[in-house]
């Protein structure tokens, strides 16, 4: 069987050789490249320290990277509809602060507090979405302003120092292990599957793609563009609030700056993952790869003893390189090269 398959694939390869160049989609190449690079980096990091390159390191990266994956999903949806969500940092903080102060270290009321907290975050996202979709305010102005307002409200609500603890159930879950694998990694897996289906295979996702690809065509086709754009922002805020809740569970408390380190990486993960910053193109699997790549890079740079400054410079450099490499012209060039060889 195996042999047969191999022969078969060899044969088809030969036949379709000339066309294979034309079939390389930019998205697919990016996804494969990013995951390949991430795995190669984890394996290569064995050279730095024997503790690296192991399964436990991969586990750590998945664990730490999951927060970025959660909020990058929402960011990806907003970018898909030609927007940008700069309120993510504040909404993460909102989710975290509310989780710590309302749950106040008890499991009581968990079943209504979780929907209430996430609902508050969705409300924030809906406001941003309405401003963008119906009042035509530039997305990054609207989300920046809403982010500022939300942060300022968090500041006032906590009087500068967030208090309280998340429910023991939540912090327990973040530390729990199931079959000797941390429970949050299962959550990540479920999230990635749901996210991928939602963005690329559901009717909702296809409509978002249509609006991002060509808003006018989507409008003529009768899609409720405004509503779809609002829902993208609402989902983004939901994901950010969820990230904040998980972070509060992880750190067993909240701080006012807990969201800051996720805003720029969330955009970076989407862009590195092959989505066009112009909207209308991209998939969640690429974003997940981008998030894991950035997390791996950060972990390795820390282990190598690089200063924060260098880490920041490289973070920016990765975004810039990804932007330049992922231009349509670059892919056209790549295809051309393949064609010549074929």
């Amino acid at each position: 069987m195996m042999q047969e398959n191999e022969i078969m694939s060899d044969a088809t390869m030969d036949i379709e050789d000339k066309r294979s160049s034309a079939r390389i989609s930019g998205e697919f190449v990016t996804v494969v490249m990013i995951f390949g690079l991430t795995i190669a980096m984890i394996l290569a990091s064995r050279a730095i320290s024997p503790a690296f390159g192991s399964w436990s390191q991969a586990e750590t990266i998945l664990y730490l990277g999951s927060f970025l994956v959660f909020c990058a999903f929402g960011q990806g949806l907003v970018i898909l509809v030609r927007g940008l969500d700069l309120s993510i940092a504040s909404v993460i903080t909102l989710g975290g602060v509310l989780t710590a102060s309302l749950m106040n270290g008890s499991n009581e009321g968990l079943f209504y507090l979780v929907p209430a907290i996430l609902g508050a975050c969705v409300l924030v996202g809906t406001i941003s979405g309405i401003g963008v979709a119906y009042f035509r305010i530039p997305p990054f102005i609207m989300t920046m302003a809403v982010g500022l307002i939300v942060y300022s409200l968090c500041l006032g609500f906590t009087q500068g120092t967030p208090r309280g603890y998340p429910a023991p159930f939540l912090s327990g879950f973040m530390q729990a292990k199931f079959l000797s694998i941390p429970a949050p990694i299962y959550l990540l897996l479920v999230f990635v599957i749901i996210g991928t289906v939602l963005q690329s295979y559901s009717a909702f996702g296809r409509k978002l793609n249509a609006v991002g690809n060509n808003p006018l065509a989507a409008y003529i086709a009768g899609l409720p563009s405004g509503l779809l754009i609002v829902s993208a922002y609402a989902v983004s805020a939901l994901c950010a609030g969820f990230t904040g809740m998980m972070l509060a569970g992880y750190a067993n408390g909240a701080t006012l700056r807990m969201g800051d380190s996720y805003l720029l990486p969330s955009i970076a993960a989407v862009v590195v993952g092959g989505s066009s910053i112009l909207g209308g193109q991209g998939n969640f699997v690429g974003t997940v790869g981008g998030a894991l790549l950035l997390t791996t890079l950060a972990t390795i740079l820390t282990a190598l003893g690089f200063e924060q400054g260098w880490k920041t410079i490289m973070e920016g450099g990765v975004i810039l390189i990804a932007l330049i490499a992922l231009r349509d012209e670059s892919f056209a060039f790549l295809r051309e090269q393949f064609r010549k060889r074929g």
Partner: protein, 332 residues
């Protein structure tokens, strides 16, 4: 249409139309002075020379940052590198203080050069490689922040006495130098906007294709706008160092949001083609003055952000509203 208004050299002198007034810097100037009246009434001590000087010094870095951002926004772009360049310029001045007026000039030249360099990178990537401005400048902003952290890990360093004391003082004890600098920039803009570079900036912002067809080098205009922006950001970081007498690798962070808020408040349209540097300068001054007024009327400093965010949204809405109303009048 609108482009004719700007490019026609001999316009018959008539009273300005409602639209021209609404689109000029006039509304924000009126708001600014109105706010001074309110401030003076709530807190009479605010009108002393000392507090006016302090307010001007406080406002100048934001005014410079907003002025720089305006160049890019006028041609239809966005520049997020403002936060990075200000932080970088701020720490560079703080680790290499040079004494005396000549040292001050040398310091200024250094940070303006840094701003120009970052602006050149932004301009090249955006104008020639055609990468979206928000994404590209986001990357350069992060890199500048990293460079600032490398130069100075934590807030510290010190600036020369010349910058800390003389630049923040007043000429003859009555004219704040910060105010003089602001007026100088307004005069500069008044001249610049009618030069070829200035006109092409606004033309590209209004209609890129029309501008290209009428012989404007669109890519070069874009590139130049980022250069001007970078130079102003560098100067903003310089004045921030003079005002705070110290370096802070994160000092530029608040400017990201506030400079866009200032530009929006000044009535410059996001998307380009409408507005000006003078309006942005007053927008920035109004934002800073508003903080004082809010504090004076007893709003907790925790909630300043709520007002700033709301004003930012309202300013953009108001600007769009004016445009819609005046367009309707015209079509009638």
């Amino acid at each position: 249409m609108a482009s004719i208004e700007i490019t026609s050299p001999h316009r018959p002198r008539t009273l300005p139309s409602l639209r021209q007034i609404a689109e000029s810097a006039f509304p924000i100037i009126a708001i600014y002075f109105l706010m001074w009246v309110v401030y003076g009434l709530v807190e009479p001590s605010a009108l002393s020379l000392y507090s006016i000087e302090a307010l001007f010094n406080n406002s100048l870095p934001l005014m410079l940052a907003a002025a720089g951002a305006t160049f890019v926004i006028l041609q239809g772009g966005f520049d997020l590198s403002v936060a990075g360049v200000i932080s970088l310029a701020n720490v560079v001045v703080a680790v290499m203080p040079m004494e005396g007026p000549l040292g001050g000039v040398a310091n200024l030249a250094m940070v303006v050069a840094i701003g120009l360099l970052v602006g050149a990178v932004n301009g090249f990537v955006v104008a020639y490689l055609r990468i979206q401005a928000i994404a590209a400048t986001l990357a350069t902003m992060i890199m500048c922040k990293g460079a600032a952290l490398l130069i100075l890990k934590a807030p510290g360093g010190f600036v020369s006495d010349f910058m800390a004391y003389e630049l923040t003082a007043s000429f003859f004890g009555i004219v704040p130098i910060a105010g003089v600098i602001a007026v100088a920039i307004m005069l500069f803009w008044a001249v610049f906007r009618s030069t070829n570079t200035g006109r092409s900036l606004i033309a590209v912002g209004q209609d890129e294709n029309a501008a290209a067809l009428s012989g404007i080098d669109v890519a070069r205009t874009r590139f130049t706008s980022f250069l001007w922006a970078g130079a102003f950001y560098g100067a903003a970081g310089y004045m921030l160092a003079a005002q705070t007498s110290t370096g802070n690798p994160n000092g530029g962070d608040p400017f990201l949001l506030l400079s866009f808020a200032a530009v929006a408040l000044g009535g410059t349209a996001f998307g380009g083609g409408r507005g000006g540097v003078t309006a942005s300068l007053f927008g920035a001054a109004t934002l800073m003055l508003m903080q004082k007024v809010l504090f004076a009327v007893g709003v907790s400093s925790f909630y300043t952000g709520v007002v700033q965010g709301a004003i930012m949204i309202l300013a953009v809405l108001f600007s769009a509203f004016v445009l819609a109303v005046t367009r309707q009048r015209k079509s009638r």
